[in-house]
């Protein structure tokens, strides 16, 4: 009898489990997402990295607007908004049912407080964009009006979609925000535990104003070694990872039936940085020759196995609305040689390398981060290409902090620089704002704050000044296109490629991830339930392409899997051989010699 009850129970369970998948999509018990670094306290003052650190912060806090998967600002805490035509006044109305995680209501006063707090205690990412605000008026619990001293075309992105709103009742008593550990916000998840170097644990905020989030418990284990992280995902110990999968492993991952791989454009921009302040790199012809010598497409195909987009010579990513599509990457070794000949860089002593215009030998060093295999391969290929056109140079790989201290001492371009060439990369925020062209190339360190090549050209500066004073969208667009064209011909540095982001996750556990262009699947949109249907619909039409199992890559991937298995087999055979060898010889010996034979 007992047994039959048991089987009835089992059958019932089976039925229930049939229904479960439907529910599972709405409510996931626990999800483990691997991250590579400890991010310290997860509040806007203490997090460490822009990605995924700030994305974790954004799970705990809310912003007034949010960037959608194509990085367009959409209202979030804000219900309605109005912008005057001159772009100087923003009238915002907040949702009226927003609560802090301790139950107190979030009001317009908190917003005003936050903006004033960040001005009082600067945190440059959040503080600088707030500086255009002239005055803030609060009306009622949800109304707020921002008056700007000058129109700011990216005001909706930064600060409005970037600035996490702080609870006044907690932060009004904080006077040393850099040491503050409190991380209570209004966001969809509540920070429950942080074990330094081990993991973060968040639980869902069921009272969230956009509805309870879909995951009850979010765990972010910290695994610094990316190989270990990949292994953990393959072994099913993680359900998703924050880091992009390196190109050579993509096929292996997509051949794993338990995992889903999504790829899309990345905004991190890899470039070949030139110290434009140091002779002979001061010569435009010399820089142009370098540009012509480098085969960017080959880099994308051989180093990144196609998981990247070839760099536009004007720096700005082709998916940006400000992209100048007239510009095409160049590659022509003969032309590179010709340019050098014409400019007087000629090999006079016949050693195979060119001397400079005064006849002195050239021997350049090409710096690269030692911790980044992709960059090292890139540097090697470029170095070879330059040697081929007669520019003597060699690659020097050093740890990132050391390279930084040579190329960008004290992270202050006014403090000079001590290098020739280097493989460099700017993070994705650089592509979000076209105005950053000024930061990259303007000769005044106060404006060109990341002009690490020390590039100086009054013509470019003029364009930059003009851009700063222009509010009209069309005029701005044409100016930014001009700037790209200028940069393409004057080559202060060479944009190599934009590496794609390849994310992987276990769809059986949770599959409502949203691929945000330039960032990947670990972002706030992936972990909130509201408007999910809308986003899922967009998903299909967004530029994301899924690596499908039946495509050509899948064939290659099975080969790849074979390679991998053969590696294990090889290892096992090797071990077996050693052990067998020992045992065989021992047996023989046991029959023969005496133990006392010494």
């Amino acid at each position: 009898m007992k047994r039959s009850f048991f089987s009835v129970g089992l059958i019932l369970l089976l039925f229930l489990s049939n229904f479960n998948p439907v529910q599972a999509k709405e409510k996931v018990q626990s999800l483990k997402v691997g991250i590579t670094k400890d991010e310290n306290g997860l509040n806007p003052y203490t997090y460490v990295t822009g990605y995924p650190g700030l994305d974790l912060v954004n799970l705990l806090y809310d912003t007034l607007f949010i960037l959608d998967e194509n990085n367009q600002p959409e209202p979030w805490l804000v219900k309605d908004y109005k912008v005057t035509e001159d772009g100087l006044t923003y009238e915002l109305t907040l949702h009226d049912n927003v609560k802090w995680q301790d139950g107190k209501p979030l009001t317009a006063d908190d917003v005003k407080f936050t903006m004033e707090y960040f001005i009082k205690y600067p945190k440059s990412r959040f503080t600088n964009p707030l500086k255009t605000i002239k005055s803030i008026e609060v009306s009622g619990a949800t109304g707020i009006t921002l008056n700007l001293s000058q129109a700011d075309p990216s005001f909706m992105i930064q600060p409005l979609a970037d600035l996490p709103i702080l609870p006044q009742h907690i932060w009004s008593e904080v006077s040393t925000p850099d040491d503050e550990t409190n991380a209570l916000g209004s966001g969809p998840y509540i920070l429950e535990e942080h074990k330094s170097g081990q993991y973060y644990k968040m639980k869902s905020n069921v009272d969230y104003f956009k509805g309870a989030p879909p995951i009850s418990e979010l765990i972010f284990p910290i695994i610094e070694d990316t190989t270990a992280m990949y292994n953990a995902l393959q072994a099913g110990e993680l359900d998703a990872i924050s880091s992009s999968i390196s190109p050579e492993l993509v096929e292996q991952f997509s051949s794993n039936p338990a995992l889903k791989v999504v790829r899309g454009p990345g905004y991190s921009t890899s470039l070949f940085q030139i110290n434009a302040e140091k002779y002979p790199m001061t010569e435009t012809a010399f820089r142009q020759a370098i540009d012509y010598a480098i085969d960017k497409e080959n880099l994308v195909n051989t180093v990144l196995l196609g998981y990247a987009e070839v760099g536009s010579p004007g720096f700005i990513h082709p998916s940006s609305a400000f992209f100048n599509s007239d510009l095409k990457p160049v590659y022509d070794k003969e032309k590179a040689r010709q340019i050098l000949e014409d400019a007087g860089f000629i090999d006079k002593d016949g050693d195979g390398f060119r001397e400079d215009q005064k006849g002195n030998k050239i021997d350049l060093t090409n710096l690269v981060y030692s911790g980044n295999p992709i960059r090292i391969r890139t540097a090697e290929l470029i170095s070879e290409a330059l040697n081929e056109i007669g520019i003597k140079n060699s690659v020097k790989a050093m740890d990132s902090t050391t390279v930084d201290s040579l190329m960008w001492p004290d992270f202050d371009v006014s403090k000079g620089r001590d290098y020739d060439l280097g493989v460099w990369s700017w993070s994705n925020t650089m592509q979000l704002f076209p105005d950053r062209m000024n930061d990259l190339f303007h000769s005044d360190p106060a404006i060109g704050s990341v002009n690490i090549g020390g590039y100086k050209n009054p013509e470019f500066d003029q364009l930059g000044e003009k851009l700063k004073q222009t509010n009209d969208e069309n005029e701005r667009l044409s100016l930014i296109k001009d700037m790209q064209a200028f940069v393409a011909s004057d080559t202060p540095f060479i944009t190599l490629y934009y590496q794609e982001i390849v994310g992987a996750f276990n769809p059986a556990k949770y599959d409502q991830y949203v691929f945000q262009v330039g960032k990947g699947i670990i972002n706030k949109l992936s972990f909130v339930s509201s408007e999910k249907s809308d986003l899922a619909g967009n998903d299909q039409t967004s530029s994301e392409t899924e690596v499908s199992a039946d495509s050509k890559t899948a064939n290659a991937s099975s080969d790849n899997g074979g390679n991998n298995t053969s590696l294990y087999v090889f290892g096992l055979i090797l071990l077996g051989a050693v052990i067998g060898f020992v045992f065989l010889r021992r047996k023989k010996k046991d029959k023969g010699n005496d133990d006392f034979d010494f």
């Binding site: 440059s124 284990p221 270990a228 930061d439 294990y568 060898f581």
Partner: protein, 326 residues
């Protein structure tokens, strides 16, 4: 007499400690680069010079090197390691979190690899010149030639990724709130692979030392004498030979004991094990001066103390040493 011996040694060690403290202070500052990016965060490039200066001021990095050195020495003698730049938490707290894991991993690794090394070293020496000896030598040389990260990754890909028997990372599934025996089993499971890696790569040195030391002892006249007397093989092996051969092993053990607190950086990184070695590695990468100082200090101090202990224990283990001095 023994007191004078200890006092002399003590003075020696004081000088060594002072030199180490100073080096410990200078080395991180001699490295190129500075901790600014880790203090200021990702958008350091968009900060004004004044903002950057304010940060450096706040952490005392604009003080003269002498002032910084003074503060450092003062902190050490007050037992205050200060705050980590990067983690913004008291360093003593960080160390207390990491030390138990490191001690579990490296301590157990040292004990086990010593036992295994001694056993096989003795066998190898006892059967010197036989095929067993040659085979053992081959195997141990093979093991010592393997890089630790490679061994670790191979073990992970076989036992975790392919077979799924053991966890890939971490020291425990801390978020699952195991308690009691479950927690111990969980910790044990997480320990197996890193421990195995550690033993595989470190066992050879003990093996080699034990083998050569045992060979020396076996060449002594008293062994010949014992054999001639017809003493049982086992007695010669364990009582006469092995016990005497253990002396150099004990020295090496004591020295390694000093290093255990430093953790096993590579293995801890490969297995995401929250030990001191990883902490040290991170601190160097991020130029987290106070944390670099604290972690290096722990290692240097424990090495010095282990040396000191070895000096003290040696006369007890080998009366010949004591009598020479006393």
């Amino acid at each position: 007499m023994l007191g004078k011996f200890i006092a002399g040694k003590f003075l020696q060690y004081l000088i060594v400690i002072f030199l180490m403290l100073t080096l410990n202070f200078l080395l991180p500052r001699l490295m190129p680069g500075n901790p600014l990016v880790f203090l200021a965060g990702e958008d350091v490039g968009f900060m004004s010079s004044a903002e950057k200066e304010a940060i450096l001021d706040k952490y005392g990095l604009n003080d003269s090197i002498i002032e910084q050195y003074g503060a450092y020495i003062k902190d050490i003698f007050t037992g205050d390691f200060g705050y980590s730049y990067q983690q913004k938490r008291p360093i003593s707290e960080l160390l207390m979190e990491r030390l138990p894991w490191t001690m579990l991993l490296t301590g157990l690794g040292l004990v086990l690899s010593t036992i295994i090394g001694v056993m096989f070293g003795a066998i190898s020496a006892w059967r010197r010149g036989t095929k067993t000896d040659a085979n053992l030598l081959t195997v141990f040389m093979f093991l010592s030639a393997m890089p630790s990260f490679w061994v670790g990754m191979i073990l992970v890909s076989i036992f975790s990724a392919q077979l799924g028997w053991l966890p890939v990372f971490g020291a425990e599934s801390a978020w699952s709130n195991y308690s009691g025996i479950d927690r111990i089993i969980d910790i044990g499971k997480h320990l197996i692979l890193p421990l195995a890696t550690l033993i595989l790569i470190s066992v050879t040195s003990t093996f080699m030392i034990m083998r050569y030391s045992m060979l020396n002892v076996l060449g002594e006249d008293y062994i010949m004498m014992a054999k001639a007397k017809g003493v049982k093989e086992k007695v010669i092996k364990y009582k006469h030979a092995m016990r005497n051969a253990l002396l150099p092993v004990a020295t090496v053990f004591m020295l390694s004991l000093g290093f255990t607190l430093g953790g096993a950086t590579v293995i801890e990184t490969v297995f995401a094990y929250p030990g001191v070695g990883r902490l040290m590695f991170e601190s160097v990468l991020s130029r987290d001066y106070p944390l670099i100082q604290a972690t290096f200090l722990i290692i240097t101090f424990s090495v010095v103390i282990a040396n000191f202990l070895a000096d003290l224990i040696y006369p007890l283990l080998d009366p010949k040493v004591g009598s020479r001095n006393g």
